[in-house]
């Protein structure tokens, strides 16, 4: 069992190396290997998950094993793997979504299409002209860097699995960074586009900021507890000690650590103020990298902070007022949720809307965690992963469908602008229905969809524990969510086609639709495992499995908040109201001019990019040009290097003339040669070239030796 856990991340890693090193030219082989590896990991995850279900009181006895890694003085720094209810739940959706991505990207990168006419590595494929039944037209062409893409996402999957199965902060951080690298590579996958380049750098830098703090936090933990494995840190007495030890700023050690780690999450999960990278990350190959950044990697941030919840909430018990760290977390989460939602309503790019909605949904989870709603956060994490993955893949499918016409004729409508779409309902039915399901799940359409249950649980917790501010803010955010979701669906799918591209859009291949359907099933079904007991009507029909299961991760099972009508009514109102308004406003909007929400401040995302640019980027580049480049590099370092070079030249000259030529060449070289030649010409006589002659001789010698041995040594 534990061996299986150890092996879980490996197949994608192997796939990465194999593809990169060997099968770079063989497209089919590459995606075969990648999907196969993902399938293996998927299989392993499912086995583990099923086994986990079988265990009673799983939270108490988790699967796990660890090995000594580094000797640190007397003790060892252990690394290991562990599957407890939380990571089991996470590994479940990770396995599904990752597999879905892999299969999906086969279709998305136009596998099976001919090579492009003028495609170059680093730019999206331009399509190719082919002649069928006499008249020629353009069809999408296969991605030039097809294999490389699969290598990247394989590495990414490796990072994610490592992060989920690791039982200590160190390996978790390793997986974390691997994913950071992968997101950089994937966002900048089409490095031919300047925008993609900048987006990649931006994402990398922004997340780095968070990671530095996270590293600080980890170091802090280690210096305090002398260990990084969760089981060590979460020992009650250890938490007690951490909570009681005062550190700076009047915070306890636990508080500081929690805060530092949380900043890491802020970077990774794109919370305000480090949210800026996520929208630009949409520059990557639509939508797979986008989906990776939306459904998987950002979940890692939330997963980490959920994982560290015992530490963050050290010394806090349910019902008490929040401690500083938690209130900070709650504030940031709630703020982000609302803030991102406000931006999302004004975006026209189908993917950017989803990106901002992701930010805001993550805000939901963070806020839920901040108010101590541990299970609710985890629940929303899982459900959100499913339906957000579904939405992104759906949007990708839409764009793919649109691109057909864009390629077909050279009128360059932006295939991602929702105002160029409309009426796709009839053109792409599968995409439409799955997208609809996903959208309703996102906006928390009552009772049916998963999103409703998870959000409702968050509301219930927020209300029941009396964090009214958070409750209200989240409610507004939820309303906006429903609103822009409906806006998106209406603009994209309903009404009449607004461009020829939309008219001629066509359904995408099965490799893209099948993952959609699978994810849609989860987006609906996964909510039903978390229905609270006291829910009127449905409650108790299906046991609230998720709460029991994931709640078991904590030391004591968090008690389910008692049922109350207010949050339920609220979530019903916001969801349905938002959906209704969205449809009401947008079902007859034809162009951006009729859209009353195109306010500059919202469109420009509250000018955050500009601010950051002015405050950080400009000064940094000034220092780089003036000081570092001109002074440090060209004067000091170069001068040093040149002198070294001159010296070594001189040294070489000396060796050549006074050592190499006289001693090595003449004496050793020729002398040995002559010697060997002489002896060889002497010895060649005995080489008759007949095997059996050789064998006879050797046997004779052998017998002689044996006899000698027996009589001289063995005998006495």
């Amino acid at each position: 069992m534990t061996t299986l856990i150890w092996l879980l991340p490996l197949p994608p890693l192997l796939a990465f190396f194999v593809i990169l090193l060997f099968t770079n030219k063989r497209k089919a082989l590459s995606h075969g290997i990648a999907v196969g590896a993902a399938g293996l990991s998927w299989l392993g995850s499912m086995i583990i998950f099923i086994r986990a279900l079988g265990v009673e009181e799983f939270g108490k006895h988790v699967f796990g094993s660890s090995i000594n890694w580094l000797p640190t003085g007397s003790t060892w720094l252990k690394v290991g793997v562990q599957i407890d209810p939380l990571s089991a739940a996470v590994v479940f959706f990770v396995a599904w979504t990752v597999l879905a991505i892999f299969v999906y990207s086969i279709g998305y990168h136009n596998f099976g299409q001919p090579k492009g006419d003028h495609d170059v590595a680093g730019l999206p494929p331009h399509g190719t002209t082919i002649t069928e039944h006499g008249h020629k037209h353009t069809v999408p062409s296969i991605e030039p860097m097809y294999s490389r893409f699969f290598a990247f996402i394989s590495l990414f999957a490796f990072g994610m699995y490592t992060l989920v199965v690791s039982d200590n902060l160190l390996t978790l951080f390793v997986g974390w960074e691997i994913m950071g690298l992968c997101s950089y590579l994937l966002i900048g996958f089409w490095f031919g586009k300047p925008s993609a380049r900048d987006a990649a750098v931006k994402a990398f830098m922004t997340t780095r900021i968070g990671d530095v703090f996270m590293l600080l936090g980890i170091a802090f933990v280690y210096s305090f507890t002398g260990s990084l494995s969760f089981s060590e840190i979460f020992k009650p007495e250890m938490l007690q000690a951490l909570a009681s030890t005062p550190a700076f700023f009047g915070l306890s050690a636990a508080g500081i650590i929690g805060l530092l780690l949380f900043i890491g999450t802020v970077g990774k999960s794109a919370q305000w103020p480090l949210h800026v990278w996520l929208p630009d990350a949409m520059e990557g190959p639509t939508p797979v990298s986008a989906m990776i950044h939306a459904a998987t990697m950002v979940s890692a941030g939330v997963y980490m902070v959920i994982r560290m919840f015992p530490l963050i909430s050290a010394g806090w018990t349910e019902g008490m007022p929040l401690n500083t760290t938690m209130s900070v977390i709650a504030f940031i989460g709630a703020f982000t949720a609302l803030f991102a939602a406000t931006i999302a309503v004004a975006q026209n790019d189908i993917k950017r809307v989803l990106a901002y909605s992701t930010i805001s949904q993550l805000g939901f989870m963070i806020a839920a965690l901040g108010i101590g709603a541990y299970v609710a956060a985890a629940f929303h994490l899982v459900t959100h992963a499913f339906f957000k993955a579904l939405l992104f893949l759906g949007s990708g499918s839409v764009i793919h469908g649109m691109e057909h016409w864009v390629l077909h004729t050279d009128d360059h409508v932006d295939p991602q602008d929702m105002f160029n779409m409309g009426g796709l309902r009839k053109k792409m039915p599968i995409t439409f229905w799955t997208f609809l399901i996903g959208g309703f799940a996102l906006s928390g359409f009552p009772v049916l969809t998963a999103g409703f249950w998870s959000k409702d649980e968050i509301f219930a917790e927020a209300f029941g524990n009396g964090h009214l501010v958070v409750f209200v803010v989240l409610a507004m955010a939820a309303f906006l969510t429903a609103f822009y979701t409906m806006r998106q669906i209406t603009l994209t799918f309903f009404g009449e086609p607004r461009t020829k591209a939309a008219e001629h859009a066509s359904e995408t291949p099965w490799t893209m639709t099948v993952p959609l359907i699978v994810l849609a099933i989860f987006a609906v079904g996964y909510g039903w495992v978390g229905i609270p007991e006291h829910f009127p009507g449905l409650g108790g029909l299906i046991p609230n499995w998720f709460h029991e299961f994931v709640g078991g991760t904590l030391a004591e099972l968090p008690k389910a908040v008692e049922f109350s009508w207010v949050p339920l009514i609220t979530s019903l109102c916001v969801a349905l109201g938002g959906l209704f308004f969205g449809w009401l406003v947008y079902h007859k909007v034809k162009s951006p001019k009729q859209d009353f929400l195109q306010i500059p401040v919202l469109k420009n995302k509250w000018y955050f990019d500009e601010i950051y640019n002015f405050v950080f980027v400009k000064p940094a580049s000034w220092i780089a040009e003036k000081f570092t480049s001109l002074y440090m590099d060209q004067t000091v370092i170069d001068g040093l290097l040149h002198s070294v070079a001159r010296f070594s030249l001189f040294l070489g000259h000396v060796f050549r003339n006074y050592f190499d030529k006289p001693i090595i060449n003449e004496f050793l070289g020729d002398g040995t040669g002559n010697l060997v030649k002489a002896s060889g010409s002497g010895l060649r006589k005995i080489q008759a070239g007949r095997i059996q002659y050789y064998m006879v001789v050797s046997m004779v010698v052998l017998v002689l030796f044996a006899v000698m041995y027996y009589f001289l040594i063995g005998g006495m």
């Binding site: 006589k685 080489q687 070239g689 095997i691 046997m699």
Partner: protein, 103 residues
């Protein structure tokens, strides 16, 4: 099992010597390989006999016999392939006539 161990060993020794004779005396390269096979089988007889007589619970003897099988198979495959390709080029399989390596 009233057979003394020494019987097996003597039989193996005889088989080995016969094989050796074949290897050293036959002209035809294939016949030489036949001799090698006999020698390998002599070894195997010893292995299995010792396994049975000394420690039948520990399977080391049989395992090594199995590995000898594998080695024999590989040796025959490559050896015969070599002989055939030599025959293709030089039209002979007599070991003594294949002496390009002589001085």
């Amino acid at each position: 099992m009233s057979i003394p161990l020494s019987w097996y060993l003597i039989l193996a020794a005889a088989l080995f010597s016969i094989g050796l004779f074949g290897v050293l005396s036959r002209k035809n390269a294939i016949a030489i390989l036949l001799g090698v096979e006999l020698m390998l089988n002599a070894v195997n007889i010893n292995l299995v006999a010792f396994w049975r007589y000394l420690d039948p619970v520990n399977m080391a003897g049989q395992v090594f016999a199995v590995i000898v099988f594998a080695v024999a198979a590989a040796e025959v495959a490559v050896g015969l392939a070599l002989i055939i390709s030599v025959y293709r080029r030089r039209k002979t399989v007599v070991a003594d006539e294949i002496d390009l390596m002589k001085w």
